[in-house]
Amino acid sequence: MAYTEKELAKELENKKYEYGFVTDVESDVIKKGLNEEIVRIISEKKNEPEWLLEWRLSAFRKWEKMEEPDWAHLKYKKPNFQDLHYYAAPKTKKKLDSLDEVDPEILKTFERLGIPLEEQKALSGVAVDFVMDSVSVKTTFSAKLLELGIIFCSFSEAVQNHPDLIKKYLGKVVPPTDNFYAALNSAVFSDGSFCYIPKGVKCPMELSTYFRINEANTGQFERTLVIADEDSYVSYLEGCTAPQRDENQLHAAVVELIALDGASIKYSTVQNWYPGDENGIGGIFNFVTKRGLCEKGSKISWTQVETGSAVTWKYPSCILKGDNSEGEFYSVAVTNNYQQADTGTKMIHLGKNTKSVIISKGISAGNSSNSYRGLVQMNPGASNSRNFSQCDSLLIGDQCGAHTFPYIEVQNKSSRAEHEATTSKIGEDQLFYCNQRGIDTEKAISLIVNGYAKEVLNKLPMEFAIEAQKLLEISLEGSVG
């Protein structure tokens, strides 16, 4: 049965506080530092099977011998990994009585993003009397999906309820030792999401739209695994346009996508973690490993809008293993003030007739630094493969920097990779020109930025595209004059 998001929303509106409850667990924090003991405690607290503990431990042992990479175009003080907490039980946020208690700045942002009132409350931890409590939403939602055989749950639940799927696919796309942060995540990941779409099923709604609130609490070492079985389709949405704060400065997530023969996965991200203040103090360090594996005739499409974090290190990639498979990467990355981003993608062509498209739009303002780093690799067996890359940079003001690092390796004669790059600038002159035509500066920046990012924003699910558009405006506020 097809069940649209609208219908679901309606049903939820009429639903009372059924499953919702607030657990008042005492904050359960174990001592700082990282060693085998900590890894064991995490695994035990999560009641994990022996094989998973071993998996974590082996990742940990490898991680210990690894060096934090420094090839990215980023400057930051490396975290002291022994000075962090690696496990905290899910915290319950302090409940507020009304929106009046919330920081007015945050409320203003919510308003401008057009986030509905109820959702605003939930996001800022105001006690809500009905519906939007994430637990009840989630339960209703999952029941509907289950009718279609779709599994969509937290990673921890999946470990308990679908251990064979986890065992079969975990770490298959991003091996625990892939890189320093992936190894760290594999050792200590806290929770995340799991999704399985059965053969031939087209998931009728954007997964995760209704989980935005929930998402706000998923910790610093998130683990996501999405499996689309043969000829299935899913559109998955991660993140939130609302500003996200977190006491944990270091975030190292891993996302693995598996598209089996003929399947199609669309994975959209809006990342708006706290970027630090206008002087570059504070802000999240975001080191993310995202990768998808494409089997025969399948397709994975990454779309990301990156506006947050002090430091972003992220390269959503596709391994085009199956013949005739396709990978896409659409990205808008905004940096303002002292933010730094080094982001891009890898398209690894292994199968014949494989195709990839890369559209990257960097926007830098203030004193920020924004780098695109991409690898397109056509292996000897990937005959007749094609890539098109377009990497554009937009500079606002003249204190910021944009860099492009494209690596293209074509190892067979019948394949072709095409790369285009442009750099443009918004300066006082452009803005004055707009002003002189009756367009104020704020509107002018949004006009220019949205025109520039349109190609990527259009790839987002409709509702999200509008919020993302506003988010770009807000992120760039005060970037000129």
């Binding site: 004055f432 020109y433 707009c434 035509r437 009756g438 367009i439 509107k443 006009l447 025109g451």
Partner: protein
């Protein structure tokens, strides 16, 4: 008849204290075309920029009355919304924004300021086709990013196209003729002349008398060293063409 703009003793300088305008006086009435001539560096573009509200310049003295309002009190966008249009000497490129989308935004912002709703697609497109014919603007330019990759002449024509679309009350044309061949010049002049009415006025900045064969001014002013040192009928332009500016400068110095 009331004036459209009345500039009284206008002084402006850069933030480092460099004085550029040193007491400009100028009054323009509805239906009039004024030409401002003067050698390079005399302050013509600066005068245009100050009237349009560019923040690089600080007004230290004087006042500007526009349509009964204190012009200097308005933000640049509000001046535009009140009908002040500047055709730039060097129109900038705006990447990623199509010419047509830019114009539509401009029109709608101006309408919103006046409390009117957005223009209908039909009316807008009708206007676009009418006004682009007026300046013989190449169709393909409408969907390109504003001024991006336009030739010098195309940029100038695009300025006049925008002017025709926005129907300003006071148009200031800053060296719109420079870099134009004679055909383009004729087209631009035709645009300006067609838009002329008893309700609006233009200030045409140029340092060639050539343009004034096509756009006939009511009064010609000579700006030098940040001041208007001479005003006269259109024949003054011919005299300047003949004799250059030096005789005028001497006149001022010996004054």
């Amino acid at each position: 008849m009331d004036s459209i703009i009345k500039i009284k003793n206008l002084h402006a300088e850069l933030s480092d204290g460099t004085k550029i305008l040193n007491g400009v006086n100028l009054e323009v009435k509805p239906g009039e075309i004024h030409a401002i001539m003067g050698p390079n560096g005399s302050g013509k573009s600066t005068l245009a920029s100050v009237l349009a509200g560019r923040e690089d310049y600080i007004v230290t003295e004087g006042e500007v009355e526009y349509n009964g309002m204190d012009l200097l009190d308005l933000s640049p966008e509000d001046r535009a919304r009140e009908g002040v249009f500047l055709a730039f000497q060097y129109p900038v490129e705006i990447p990623g924004v199509s010419n047509i989308n830019f114009l539509k935004t401009s029109i709608n912002e101006i309408r919103a300021y006046k409390g009117e709703g957005p223009i209908s697609a039909k009316e807008f497109l009708g206007m676009v086709s009418e006004k682009s014919k007026l300046v013989e603007l190449d169709n393909k330019l409408k969907n390109r990013s504003v001024n991006e990759g336009f030739s010098g002449g195309e940029k100038k024509r695009n300025e006049i196209f925008q002017m025709a679309m926005l129907e300003p009350k006071l148009a200031i044309l800053d060296e719109t003729d420079s870099g134009l061949d004679i055909d383009a010049l004729r087209i631009v002049a035709h645009g300006v002349n067609t838009l002329k009415s008893s309700e609006n006025a233009s200030i045409v900045i140029t340092h060639y008398q050539r343009l004034l064969d096509y756009i006939v001014p009511d009064i010609v002013h000579v700006l030098w060293n940040g001041r208007i040192i001479k005003s006269g009928p259109k024949e003054l332009a011919l005299e300047l063409e003949d004799k250059g500016y030096d005789w005028l400068k001497k006149e001022v110095i010996t004054e």
